[in-house]
Symmetry: C2
DNA sequence: TTTATAAATAGCCAGCGAGTTATCGATTAC
DNA sequence: GTAATCGATAACTCGCTGGCTATTTATAAA
């Protein structure tokens, strides 16, 4: 329901969660146990973080026996990139308008 | 002390704050009163949000008489873009490694 | 000089969110 | 079949954050 970048910003605002995501980007596929080993927080905490990342579309999960593997969904960063570009676009067009104005004042 | 993208992610995670920043990008220079008029929250709330955005380096303020004008500091989005590229880079290099592996297996 | 306005600060409160431990369901190993 | 392991869920605590009103400080207007 919220705009795509809404959940993404919130998901990535937490350092622990961002670290998990970074790790998945760096090293690929990981089980919850493997992620927990390096997260510095308890396993349930990691599970919750993974849930949030999943809701934001930033990770996928894959069940394999009693293990669950998570992996980064890199395409999910697109809304964030789009948003950034949009901000830059606003900036640019304001700059263009200023240029226009100066040009008009010039003649 | 925190990494630059840390404060930026946190600052932009809040919808009200992000809306203020978007408005500054879109429409440029704004007084606190002007921002408050559209923010849907009280003036002190807006001031606090502007403080957070300023700490994150996302906005500048300029005093003019009893008015304070804020404007977006677009360059401040760079760490965010860098971070995104870095994630994409990790992804790419893992892909490259996989390619290498397949190549080695091939011969 | 008094009054009014802009914006920041102080102080408070409620809700959320990240953490914990305990538990449960599912799967594998013995 | 029983025990052990993986991961998710439940239930709780606690600190932080976003909101408010009231106040303060600074500047402008009367």
């Amino acid at each position: 329901m919220p705009q795509p970048h809404e959940r993404i910003f919130k998901a990535l605002a937490d350092p622990t969660r961002r670290a998990i995501f970074e790790r998945l980007c760096r090293d690929g596929d990981q089980t919850v146990a493997a992620l927990t080993a390096r997260a510095g927080v308890s396993q349930p905490a990691v599970s919750k973080h993974l849930g949030v990342l999943k809701q934001a579309g930033l990770v996928r999960d894959r069940h394999e026996g009693r293990n669950t593997h998570y992996s980064a969904e890199l395409g999910a960063l697109a809304p964030l990139i789009d948003w950034t570009n949009q901000m830059a676009g606003f900036w640019q067009s304001r700059f263009d308008n200023l240029e226009d104005l100066l040009k008009r004042m010039d003649r």
